[in-house]
């Protein structure tokens, strides 16, 4: 062994010890923020950081109300191989340009340090009241890949093709079905052909995703959220209609697709779960229930399926590849229905009930024993104010704000400049009716939610901009409040 090797080993060992020591005195908590595309992850994280760092109003965050909160600031993150969450750009977008930040396309991370006055004697004198909060932002689509680990290529193909033949998916699957019909799985493998298949399949998944259908359960997750793997062979495969029981040779199209499917599982899916997911302590799952409600019952049911698949990842039962690599279990899971500011607060309870209903069966099945689970309706940034109008003998609870350019409601269209008051409709008291295809008549949605631009920033004490929010403080308190005692 060379001297330099011994030196390296020693250095690593010392560094390890140093990390251990600093962990004792500066505890770290990893908070996973996830949700399907468009759920509001980036906005949630940006608002959370802004409100903590620049002294926003967080009355339900106990450490603030008890007067024990000192300050919070950003620190260099510990993992050099993960991109940093671009907080500065997102906050400029929101405050200066009044546009919503770009959405999450890959995993990113940020470390926030909170200094506070601990309550206990030991903590006050020895540990000194510091908590590092590592916020890990990753697309919820990636969690949908976990069920793939238990499927063979043939099983997965059969399932995916069958799902695409059902309405409403069949409407957008036509062009992919055409190429699928022509293909011969036993033919010799051909790279351009494989790419054609993958492109058509991806296009099909993307049109399921768009606003009109708003479907959610669309694995494999990297086809919609490729991260930095775009165009790599591990993403160049698609389902084929295979004949059951036939064994396809290695160099056939089916053989190549199968190989790529397997490597997708081993080089893409497993490392993510092992390196990032397994290290989380707390998790918030953001759900955009309103977009699904806009699109109708099919989208709501599909969202439920997707959330059930996501929640399965948090199950720590036996017979699960995941449970073998999990360092510890996630202690707290918060399911948050976002964009609560699109509704008058009279309807927030109903929105919360929808979030509960979306996840309750999944939660029961997932046996989330030991973890605290809660559901709330929140809004990372509150883009609207409330108002009311008296009309036809009733008072309507309205929200006012600047609707995004191109949004429509009834016959009125918005230009993104003028403030308008919106009555989005009432959510039913019984969330069940939203899941039942029989209740809403086609094309006559009881609710219509309009997207708003970020609010005009308010100046708080000290001239710093304040980002209003709804129940962000309650979410933070649930997720990390117990570690700030």
């Amino acid at each position: 062994m060379k001297l330099s090797d011994i030196w390296d080993e020693t250095r690593f060992a010392v560094e390890g010890l140093a990390t251990y020591a600093s962990e004792t005195f500066e505890p770290t908590i990893r908070l996973g923020v996830t949700g399907l595309s468009g759920a509001g992850k980036t906005v949630f994280i940006t608002s959370l950081i802004h409100n903590l760092v620049s002294g926003g109003k967080l009355p339900l965050f106990d450490v603030v109300t008890e007067g024990r909160f000192k300050r919070a600031y950003l620190r260099p993150q510990p993992d050099d191989d993960v991109p940093r969450f671009d907080y500065e750009r997102h906050i400029t977008d929101i405050l200066k340009r009044r546009v919503w930040p770009e959405s999450t396309r890959r995993i990113s991370q940020l470390r926030l340090t909170i200094e506070f006055e601990p309550t206990g004697f030991w903590d006050r004198n020895v540990r000194g009241g510091k908590l590092n909060l590592d916020i890990v932002d990753y697309p919820g689509e990636w969690l949908l890949d976990l069920p793939l680990l238990n499927l063979t290529y043939a099983e997965w193909s059969a399932q995916t093709i069958e799902a695409s033949r059902k309405s409403p998916r069949s409407q957008v699957a036509k062009s992919w079905h055409r190429i699928l019909k022509k293909a011969d799985p036993a033919a010799k493998a051909d790279e351009p052909l494989a790419r054609d298949h993958a492109e058509q399949f991806t296009a099909y998944l993307q049109s399921c995703r768009n606003e009109r259908l708003s479907l959610s359960a669309l694995p494999p997750g990297r086809f919609l959220m490729p991260g930095d793997l775009e165009g790599s062979p591990a993403l160049t495969f698609s389902p084929l209609s295979l004949v059951a029981g036939t064994i396809y040779p290695r160099e056939s199209l089916a053989g190549m697709m199968e190989r790529r499917f397997e490597s997708y599982k081993s080089v893409v899916v497993k490392p993510f779960f092992r390196d990032h997911f397994a290290r989380l302590d707390r998790q918030i799952i953001l759900v955009d229930a309103l977009a699904a409600l806009n699109a109708g019952t099919d989208a709501v049911q599909d969202l439920e399926t997707a959330l059930a698949d996501i929640l399965k990842c948090f199950r720590t039962g036996a017979n699960n590849w995941l449970s073998s690599i999990l360092a510890h279990r996630v202690e707290r899971i918060l399911i948050a229905a976002t964009k609560a500011d699109h509704l008058h607060h009279d309807n927030h309870d109903q929105l919360e009930a929808v979030a509960m209903r979306l996840t309750e069966q999944a939660m029961e099945r997932a046996e989330l024993a030991g973890a605290h689970v809660d559901a709330i309706a929140l809004s990372g940034i509150r883009a609207t104010r409330e108002a009311s109008v008296h009309q036809e003998g009733m008072d309507l609870g309205l929200v006012t704000g600047t609707p995004v350019d191109g949004e429509k409601i009834g016959r009125s269209a918005f230009d993104g400049k003028k403030d308008t008051a919106i009555f989005p409709g009432d959510l039913p008291d019984d969330p069940e009716s939203l899941f039942d295809a029989a209740t809403p008549k086609a094309g006559q949605n009881p609710v219509r939610f309009v997207r708003f631009r970020p609010p005009k920033p308010n100046k708080g004490p000290g001239g710093r901009a304040i980002l209003p929010h709804i129940r962000l403080d309650r979410a933070i308190n649930f997720l990390i409040g117990d570690r700030l005692q």
Partner: protein, 356 residues
Amino acid sequence: MTCSTSRKPASFDLDDPALRVAEATPLDLDLEIAVEPEPANKTRRKKTKGNEETTDGTNAVAPSTSTPGATARFTSGFSRWGGILLSSIGALVTMAAGLAAASLVENLFSRADWLGWLALGLASLAALALIAIVTREITSLARLRKLGRIRDEVARAERSKNERAARDVLVKLKALYRGRDDCKWQLARLADAEPDIFDADDLMKVAEQILMKDLDLQARAEIARAAKRVSIVTAVSPAALIDIGFVLVANLSLMRKLAVLYGGRPGTLGMLKLARMVLTHLTLTGGIALGDNLLQQVFGHSVAAKLSARLGEGVLNGLFTSRIGMAALEVCRPMPFRHLPAPAIKDLMSEVVKSG
């Protein structure tokens, strides 16, 4: 909502005269802005009419669990016999204390007449002063506003998750402390936080954390101070009568201070409970002080033994006083202990010992 089918999504122009925009969040800590936006409240009331049945339904269930009368009472044989025991001991103690005073005066008379007269005069003066002080404390306590059912309303609003009820009870709570200099800052903070909170239980939580925290601390200090005084006086006082008189005055003034601190006196039930506790305390104090001679017989006459017996007596009396203080705190506090820890005897006693 029953009318949901007829309520279609719609948009309104902001210039529409029928439109009422909710107050913008007040950013400067000015009390005046904090006044409830009344029109917004009224509309909310009307609008939720469809909901009324459901919320009322929960309300109808709630009081049965919250009113003190409905809570299960353990009427075992003990309480009746215990009552007889306590009241007979009380009577005995009063008689013994009277006897002690009478025999002191008699003793002095037998030595010299003028000593006897002086003692008699002093004793009557002391009795008169005691009666005057007690009357004053009781009348000033009675003059305070009754807290009424505000505690029940807080608990009910929190349990039923009825946001409107929570805002209503919050107005009453704030009225208790309006105009008080020591609460100004807390009221401003509460007014600042209030518009950003949307749920009944969260409103109550923040109100308790902001309004009650300092009051709780002051109340605790007040109780500890009274307990300490009672401890010291009963440890050094020469006669049982002085013990009893001092304990009575100290406890009454503690109750009055707590009631003033929290903004009102407890209701009739709470007062009865407190009165019973004070009577028990007096009985035991008197009993111990009179039993002191007996203890001396048992432990011998050495100074150390006498001193430790005295100290023990003082500590015990302090303990009783702090127990009464805590009971008084509980009935005077307009909110139940939910999000802040209720003070425990343990903390109080350590405070007493520390400062004593």
